[in-house]
């Protein structure tokens, strides 16, 4: 894997270097507003057809895979064991039930991975992001201050405050429930999620995510997600009204209930 990864990384860097002027050109195109994130978006790159290969633009390299969290040594073994337990169960055809099994939404930061299309609505004092899956809504308040950790009531999406730094929309989030995890990663009430959203061109934006947690992490955990515009899309509702999945009370496996809906 490493033998393949290094040449690929080199090639990716070459592509980035060669295409940077194109990206700058696109970003300065007439009518382009670098502060306008409004609209509907998918995670980039998207397949042209179901099951097909994702379409990667030469000017926008695919973001690197989300790295493993920089957990403190005392938490690494438990995290690895948890990941292995899930991977082994899935490989054995008996996947372990998760929050999804019970129709629980992603919460933050997983909501921003863009499992389904998402919509961004911008007003002067608030940016609202709606994720189609599970009708998730997060509200980012501008001109506001974050609550202190001890005052931040835990939730799935927490409390978010945003501000502009040039053309970057910088968001900070606190107050995520301890069982709302991304990549099985534990976190404390001290966790802070920093996001830096930036328009790449009129139809793409990137979100640099940085997680800090002095209790569990040795340093910042960083990655980037990129989104592409889905023009003229109208978001579908998602009410989890007919959930046939359940956790087996003995094994904890995700199971499917057989039979017609009554």
């Amino acid at each position: 894997m490493k033998r393949v990864a290094l040449p690929l990384l080199g090639a990716a860097l070459l592509v980035i270097g060669a295409c940077a002027p194109d990206a700058q050109k696109a970003a300065s195109a007439p009518g382009f507003d670098p502060k306008d994130f409004s609209g509907t978006w998918d995670r980039y790159p998207l397949a042209a057809q179901p099951g097909g290969e994702p379409v990667v633009l030469p000017s926008i390299p695919v973001a690197a895979r989300v790295p493993d969290p920089p957990l403190k040594p005392e938490h690494v073994e438990a995290w690895k064991a948890e990941r292995k337990k899930f991977a082994d169960a899935t490989a054995a055809g008996a996947p372990i039930a998760t929050g999804y099994t019970h129709c629980q939404p992603d919460g933050m930061p997983a909501m921003m991975m863009g499992m389904f299309p998402m919509e961004v609505l911008q007003t002067k004092r608030q940016t609202t992001i709606i994720q189609e899956a599970y009708n998730q809504v997060r509200r980012i308040y501008l001109d506001d201050t974050l609550p202190a950790v001890e005052d931040a009531e835990p939730g799935f999406w927490g409390h978010s405050v945003g501000k502009w730094e040039g053309n970057d929309f910088v968001v900070e989030t606190v107050g995520i429930k301890d069982y709302v995890k991304y990549n099985n990663t534990p976190h404390s009430d001290q966790m802070r999620i920093h996001e830096r959203m930036r328009m790449i061109d009129a139809d793409h934006f990137e979100n640099e995510v940085t997680i800090e947690d002095p209790v569990y992490l040795t340093g910042p955990w960083q990655w980037k997600w990129i989104y592409q515009r889905r023009p003229n899309y109208k978001m579908y509702e998602y009410v989890c009204e007919d959930n046939r999945e359940f956790a087996d009370p003995v094994t904890g496996e995700a199971r499917m209930r057989i039979g017609e809906k009554k």
Partner: protein, 143 residues
């Protein structure tokens, strides 16, 4: 709102984080797909999954009502389905991956509806490995 160039995008990207929307599909045996042909007894267009209930004979000639799990309405709409394209009493054919438990439940891979049109089940559910016409293995099919 400015007009934007229209992308020919119909489905979700495939990556680890997007492989499934509601739960893992590992409970279904995609390596041993089967063909089911019969009459729809119920069709529900709801989240987190659309379901087809199909009265059909299996390979041993036993008739059962199969609970066939499809993607969710959002994915299916983006794949070209319509909420009312399958109705009770329709005769349809489906390629499915059965539950590993042996119960009469399955994940849809492909469906041929009453008017003859054929639809997939969105990218995350994966493609069929057998023909919807005769159940024979498809050359070069990915599981």
């Amino acid at each position: 709102m400015k007009l934007r160039p229209l992308f020919a995008t119909l489905c979700l990207a495939l990556s680890a984080g997007l492989a499934f929307a509601h739960h893992s599909f590992a409970m279904f045996d995609s390596d041993h797909q089967i063909l089911l042909s019969g009459k729809v007894t119920q069709f529900t267009w709801q989240n987190p999954h659309v379901y087809i209930h199909l009265e059909a004979k299996d390979a041993k000639g036993k008739t059962s009502v199969w609970t066939i799990e499809c993607a969710n309405p959002g994915i299916l709409n983006r794949t070209g389905w319509k909420f009312n394209m399958i109705k009770k009493d329709d005769r349809i054919t489906a390629v499915v991956a059965p539950l590993r438990t042996g119960e009469s439940g399955a994940l849809l891979k492909q469906v041929k509806i009453a008017d003859g049109r054929i639809f997939g089940n969105g990218g995350p559910a994966g493609p069929p490995s057998i023909s919807i016409e005769d159940g024979k293995p498809l050359a070069g099919a990915k599981k």
